[in-house]
C-alpha cells in the first residue's frame, strides 16, 4: 500500500477537528471496504482517521419506540444483540447474513450505510424502516439520505454517529445472494411500519437501493405474499451484470419480496 498518516482520536469532536486539519483524509470504521479500496489504490487519502477509539459509537440501546444503533456497532454485535432481536428481529437476521463471520466481527453499520454499495444489505433496512441517520451535524431521514450508487448526501467530513430505527409492527429481509461474493443479487426488506407498508430493494437498482412503488401498492391492499403474485417491476431502473441480467433481476424482485413478506414477524 502507498503511505498515509494515521490518526485515532478519542471523541467525535476530535475526529471533526482532525478532518478539518486533513481535508483529504478518509474515515476508517471496520475497514472491510476501505482497506481493500486502499490496496487497489482506488482511494489514496493523505490520512486515515480511525473511529475505533471512540467507545460511545459502539453501542446499541432501545429508547421507547426507537432502536438506537451506534455507527461503530459491528454486524456481529447487531446480529447477537438481545435489544435488536426483541425490537426488530429482521435487522438482527440481516446483520447475521452479511458476508462471513470475520467480516461481521469488524464491519460496522456506519461504514456500510456511508458506503452505500448498491448490493449492500443495511441500506435496504434503513430505507424500508424509515430510519434516521444521525451525524455530528444533523439528522437525515432515510428517504433523503441515499443519493445513487456509492453515494449519499453526507458532506465531506461529516461523521455518522448513530442510526435511529423506529420499531415496526412487522418486518423481514430476504436476500437472494450471489454464492461467491455473498452480496445480494436481489434483497428485499419489507416493513409494516404502522404508518404504512414500505419495501426497499437492494442488489439490483441502477441507482442503488430504492423503494418499490409497485410492491408497496400491492402490499398496502393486503400484507401477504399472495398480494405480490403478478406484480411486474419495470427493468428501466434495474442493473444487470455477469451474475444476472436486468430482466432476470426485475423478475426476481417480487419473488424475493414475497419471501420477505412470508417471513415477516
Amino acid at each position: 500500500m502507498y503511505s498515509f498518516d494515521y490518526h485515532r482520536p478519542g471523541s467525535v469532536a476530535d475526529v471533526a477537528k482532525a478532518l478539518l486539519a486533513n481535508p483529504e483524509a478518509r474515515l476508517l470504521a471496520g475497514g472491510q471496504t476501505l482497506i481493500p479500496t486502499l490496496k487497489q489504490r482506488l482511494a489514496q487519502p493523505a490520512a486515515v482517521i480511525d473511529l475505533g477509539g471512540i467507545a460511545d459509537l459502539k453501542m446499541i440501546k432501545r429508547d421507547g419506540a426507537t432502536l438506537v444503533i451506534g455507527a461503530m456497532a459491528t454486524h456481529d454485535m447487531v446480529a447477537r444483540s438481545a435489544d435488536v432481536k426483541a425490537a426488530i428481529p429482521a435487522l438482527a437476521a440481516l446483520a447475521g447474513g452479511i458476508g462471513d463471520p470475520q467480516v461481521r466481527n469488524v464491519g460496522t453499520i456506519g461504514g456500510s450505510v456511508a458506503n452505500n454499495d448498491p448490493a449492500a444489505d443495511y441500506p435496504a433496512a434503513v430505507l424500508a424502516l424509515g430510519a434516521t441517520v444521525v451525524t455530528n451535524k444533523r439528522q437525515i431521514v432515510a428517504d433523503q439520505f441515499f443519493a445513487g450508487m456509492f453515494s449519499t448526501v453526507l458532506d465531506a467530513g461529516e461523521i455518522i454517529t448513530a442510526l435511529h430505527f423506529p420499531v415496526p409492527k412487522k418486518a423481514a429481509y430476504a436476500k437472494f445472494e450471489q454464492r461467491a461474493s455473498r452480496y445480494a443479487l436481489v434483497g428485499a426488506f419489507v416493513a409494516d411500519t404502522g404508518a404504512g407498508v414500505r419495501c426497499a430493494i437492494t442488489g439490483c437498482g441502477a441507482g442503488g437501493v430504492f423503494r418499490s412503488a409497485e410492491i408497496e401498492a400491492a402490499l398496502a391492499k393486503m400484507f401477504a405474499a399472495d398480494a405480490l403474485k403478478g406484480v411486474k417491476i419495470s427493468v428501466a431502473n434495474i442493473m444487470g451484470d455477469i451474475h444476472g441480467s436486468a430482466e432476470y433481476r426485475a423478475a426476481m424482485v417480487p419473488v424475493i419480496a414475497a419471501r420477505a413478506v412470508a417471513m415477516a414477524v
Binding site: 500500500m1 502507498y2 503511505s3 498515509f4 498518516d5 494515521y6 485515532r8 476508517l28 475497514g31 472491510q32 482497506i35 481493500p36 486502499l38 490496496k39 486515515v48 480511525d50 475505533g52 456481529d76 458476508g99 462471513d100 463471520p101 470475520q102 467480516v103 466481527n105 469488524v106 455473498r182
Partner: protein, 160 residues
C-alpha cells in the same frame, strides 16, 4: 515511525510500523509468525485469520495500527506447549487438511465458532466457514474435524 503495542500469543510486543502496514505483515515479517498465511490479500480466502480480542478477523484486512492495545492470538499461540488445541488435534485425526495452506485460518476460525457455539450443527459449521476457502479437501473432513473437536471440548468441559 509510529509503533504498536500488542499482546501476541501471551507476550507483550512493541513494533515500529508504517501506518499502512497490515496486521498480517507485522505478524509474518516483524514477528516471524509465519503460520498465518496470505492466500488472496483481498479479504476473500480466510488463510490469514487470527483472533483479535477474542474474535476471528482477517489479518490482511486490519491495519496493524488498528490492533494497537489488542490481544492477538495466532495459530502458533493456540496450543498449550506441545499439547495441541482440540481443534488442531481433530484436524489431524479427521484428515481435515491436504496441502495445509488454508489450515491455520480454518483452525482459528473454527476455534472462534466453538467458543461461541460449543455444539454447532453441520449447517451452522458450513455456514460459519463461508469466509474460509480450501482448494484441496472438499470441506467434508474439515466439517468432520470440527464435529470431533466440539465433542472433545464438550466432554472436557463436562469433566471439569
Amino acid at each position: 515511525m509510529p509503533h504498536v503495542t500488542m499482546e501476541v500469543n501471551g507476550k507483550a510486543v512493541k513494533v515500529d510500523v508504517a501506518p499502512s502496514a497490515l496486521l498480517v505483515e507485522v505478524l509474518r515479517r516483524d514477528l516471524a509468525l509465519t503460520g498465518t498465511h496470505v492466500g488472496c490479500d483481498t479479504s476473500q480466502c480466510g488463510a490469514c485469520v487470527v483472533h483479535m480480542n477474542g474474535a476471528s478477523v482477517k489479518s490482511c484486512t486490519v491495519l496493524a495500527m488498528q490492533a494497537n492495545g489488542a490481544k492477538i492470538v495466532t495459530i502458533e499461540g493456540l496450543s498449550q506447549g506441545t499439547n495441541m488445541h482440540p481443534v488442531q488435534a481433530a484436524f489431524k485425526e479427521a484428515h481435515g487438511l491436504q496441502c495445509g495452506f488454508c489450515t491455520p485460518g480454518m483452525v482459528m476460525s473454527s476455534a472462534d465458532l466453538l467458543a461461541r457455539n460449543p455444539n454447532p450443527s453441520e449447517t451452522e459449521i458450513r455456514s460459519w466457514l463461508k469466509g474460509n476457502i480450501c482448494r484441496c479437501t472438499g470441506y467434508h473432513n474439515i466439517v468432520k474435524a470440527i464435529q470431533i473437536a466440539a465433542d472433545t471440548m464438550s466432554k472436557k468441559a463436562a469433566a471439569e
